[in-house]
């Protein structure tokens, strides 16, 4: 017979108000395996823990139940305390009499009776708990960062600076992400390139960052500390190891196509670098545009290249890499204008989105930074900016707020006014959400100093009338319908997750929310962790955010990775499943039921086995096993049945009602 100690927490009044602690302790004291009962106002406090430690030592307890709040809150606290007192931590269980009892009941007698049942059932369980030691697994101290926008680069740099190797994988042929497309940044109006290029250069020359552009993660196996990742490097049709970046091929290429980087406002050659400051500064061929690929003729670039780097036969290459941790930084896209019918389905050239305005305003953009409208190159004198297009629109867009549009719209209107002082800028807004350092002041500057006219309301319709765009809006403050004959309309489109996020989530086996953003483990306390250990989130892959936030989150994700890499071994909870090979019939139901690929049939012995470090202890296979060969350690069938018996057994003096 084990000597079980029970420690009942009042949790101030949280438990004590509803559960009669004294009666509970009195009843428990009479139960056979219970050798010691004690209660305390705050068991999780330092004196509370001391009291428990003292009792473990003095009363020679070999199992403990703490009747308190949810194990999510303090299981770790109490297990560490028990361990300090010499008790195997897996011999301590939490009986949740707060969330599952006192918080959800009013009747004191009934709540007390229920608390007694809960504690007793845990006493039954703990009496049968085995002493366990955590599983130990080695850690590959090398990180994978997916996405080389500002957030991914920041995470990569921080991990690499701390001395670990980083594999930075980027789908595009350049790094820098959307930030590379921006002209200036709010609220300081510093030039985006000026703050980005030092970062891209640092990434490119960092001895511990292995950069893979034009690459995608296609398969991820393994587990925390020991991931095996397959990466597909897509062909650029230029051998970058021999290419010198002379760009003669680009000069000679006869084919001009709309540039995706310029969001269709400028052109590029079929062989080109995305933009002049691109890192790596190496050309690649857009096979969909290239005459050689589409028509089978031309080949000028190959003939031009002085070092013979152009290679039309290049094929995708699959790389297999081992990493210990993964940071997801896949960023965002803008909701397509083409989905908003009342604003012209993206068909009016002078209705542009925010990123297009960034390119118009950028010194390296298609107009060299002059504000000219796309249709006829005229300088627009009446410019309408519309916020919340697609955002906060459950009907045609997304229900959430995209968070950054208020600020960048103010920035756009302000920059426009600086360049076209005699022009008029209007901003249609619903609310101005400017919560950030210096943000509200920035908005006020746009209004007061630059004379941007803020109109509170949405726009119902935009249509062309002659060379103008008629904008039908409203100013709800005056209650007036307003009509503006605009030269240019800029839509602050909703931010949506990168189109690749959904597939990547499947590959990584991590969850995404209903909109496709990666789900964090806890919205407040674990904002950069996914629910899978060793996979972390940063930047707009998790939710819309601005540059400072994306950078801060990158630091946080990097510090999680570094914490993981700070020891040579990882501890894995030992409460996994176990197979009795004598009973197992090799039916394979466990393999099917396991969501973590932790179950296999041994090819030789034909019985099931457990890959313990993959096992998350969910118990699905134990439930599926038809003959009880699979048992969940410390949640064995015998333990669970004894717990159930406690609840369904005959009532006793405590007055449980049936």
């Amino acid at each position: 017979m084990k000597r079980v100690g029970v420690f009942v927490c009042w949790c101030g009044r949280n438990i004590a108000e509803t559960v009669d602690i004294e009666a509970l302790c009195r009843q428990l004291g009479r139960d056979a395996p219970v050798a010691w009962v004690e209660d305390y106002k705050y068991m999780c406090s330092e004196p509370g823990q001391q009291l428990m430690k003292k009792a473990i030592a003095e009363q020679h307890l070999d199992a403990v139940v703490v009747a308190a709040c949810s194990p999510n809150m303090h299981e770790v606290t109490f297990r560490l305390a028990a361990e300090a007192a010499g008790l195997n931590p897996y011999r301590l269980e939490i009986a949740n009499i707060r969330e599952q009892c006192s918080w959800v009941h009013r009747d004191r007698d009934q709540a007390t009776a229920k608390a007694l049942d809960i504690v007793r059932s845990m006493v039954e369980k703990v009496a049968r708990d085995e002493e366990l030691q955590p599983l130990r697994v080695p850690v590959t101290k090398r990180a994978l960062v997916i996405g080389a926008g500002i957030s991914g680069m920041q995470a990569a740099l921080e991990i690499a600076d701390a001395g670990h190797e980083v594999l930075l994988v980027e789908r595009q042929t350049y790094i820098g992400g959307h930030m590379a497309q921006l002209s200036e940044t709010f609220p300081t109006l510093d030039c985006a390139s000026c703050i980005l290029t030092p970062r891209t250069a640092e990434v490119a020359r960092h001895p511990r960052i292995k950069l893979m552009v034009a690459s995608e993660v296609i398969e991820v196996g393994g587990y925390v500390g020991n991931f095996v990742v397959r990466i597909r490097q897509n062909p650029t049709y230029v051998d970058w190891s021999t290419c010198t970046g002379c760009m003669e091929c680009v000069e000679k290429c006869p084919r001009q196509v709309p540039s995706r980087f310029e969001r269709g406002l400028g052109t590029r050659k079929a062989i080109s670098v995305a933009f002049p400051q691109a890192v790596p500064y190496r050309p690649s061929i857009d096979a969909e545009a290239c005459l050689y690929f589409t028509k089978g003729r031309c080949g000028i670039c190959q003939k031009t290249c002085p070092v013979g780097a152009v290679d039309y036969e290049q094929k995708p290459v699959i790389h297999e890499e081992k990493v210990g941790a993964i940071v997801v930084a896949t960023g965002y896209e803008l909701f397509p204008k083409a989905r908003i019918g009342e604003y012209g389905y993206g068909k009016y050239p002078d209705v542009i989105d925010g990123l297009e305005f960034e390119r118009l305003n950028s010194a390296s953009g298609p107009t060299s930074g002059r504000i000219q409208r796309p249709s006829d190159g005229k300088v627009p004198k009446e410019v309408v900016f519309i916020q919340c297009v697609g955002s906060r629109d459950q009907e045609k867009g997304v229900p959430y707020c995209s968070k950054i549009c208020c600020m960048y719209t103010a920035k756009h209107a302000m920059l426009y006014k600086h360049k076209v002082p005699d022009g008029q800028a209007y901003v249609f807004y619903m609310d101005v959400r400017a919560g950030g350092k210096g943000y509200e002041e920035f908005i006020q500057r746009a209004v007061e100093e630059d004379g941007v006219l803020y109109l509170r309301g949405r726009v119902s319709r935009i249509f062309p009338e002659g060379s103008k765009l008629m904008v039908w809006g409203v100013d709800t403050i005056s209650g007036e319908k307003v009509e503006i004959a605009a030269d240019l309309v800029v839509l602050a489109m909703a931010m949506v997750p990168s189109p690749t996020a959904r597939d990547l989530a499947r590959v990584l086996k991590v969850s995404i929310d209903e909109h496709g953003f990666f789900s964090e483990a806890h919205p407040k306390l674990r904002p950069v962790e996914s629910l899978s250990r060793g996979i972390y989130l940063t930047g707009c892959a998790q939710a819309p955010k601005d540059i400072p936030e994306a950078v801060a989150q990158a630091g946080s994700a990097a510090s999680k990775v570094l914490a993981l890499f700070s020891s040579d071994e990882l501890l894995h909870p030992p409460t996994v499943v176990r197979v009795d090979p004598e009973i197992c019939s090799g039916c394979g139901l466990c393999v099917k039921s396991c969501p973590y690929e932790a179950r296999q049939i041994d090819p030789v012995s034909k019985v099931a086995r457990v890959r313990e470090v993959l096992c998350q202890g969910c118990g699905a296979c134990a439930a599926a096993c038809p003959n009880g060969a699979t048992q969940h350690i410390n949640f064995t069938k015998e333990q669970l049945m004894s717990m159930i018996d406690t609840f369904t057994g005959p009532p006793d003096g405590a007055g449980r009602e049936r």
Partner: protein, 133 residues
């Protein structure tokens, strides 16, 4: 305007919600309905203002607005509402509250005879349905 919990949660608001099948508080007052309303310049308050009155529990004031009668049920508002509120249905319920109170807005004898002669049936039937209940 005197506000109180009783007023804001008035029974008439519930009635409007039931008749229209729309949630008054679903509206977040963006004004897109007004921005696209072909009759807004003949309304005071404008469409989103009528919704606001309902949110404040001022149903009888909403019933006294020109908007209730000028609304042509063209659905420009509803088809673009980001909150999925069908304002045409809200306007109809306000009209019906008045008409069912026994006071038709238009009586056939009130229309000019030559208009009655000229107007197509579709116009007269619509008019009767909307303005006589």
């Amino acid at each position: 305007m005197l506000l109180s919990g009783e007023r804001v949660r008035s029974r008439l608001v519930t009635k409007v919600e039931e008749m229209s099948g729309q949630r008054v508080l679903g509206c977040y007052q963006c004004g897109k309905c007004t921005a696209g309303c072909p009759m807004a310049s003949f309304m005071d308050p404008v469409p989103h203002g009528v919704m606001r009155l309902l949110q404040l529990g001022q149903v009888s004031r909403a019933m006294r607005t020109a908007a209730v009668w000028m609304c042509a049920s063209c659905h420009s508002c509803a088809s673009r509402c980001p909150r999925g509120v069908d304002l045409a249905r809200v306007m109809e319920s306000l009209r019906l509250l008045i008409l069912r109170g026994g006071e038709p807005k238009v009586r056939p004898e009130g229309l000019p005879a030559e208009l009655l002669m000229r107007a197509p049936q579709q116009a007269l039937v619509s008019c009767a349905r909307k303005y006589q209940g």
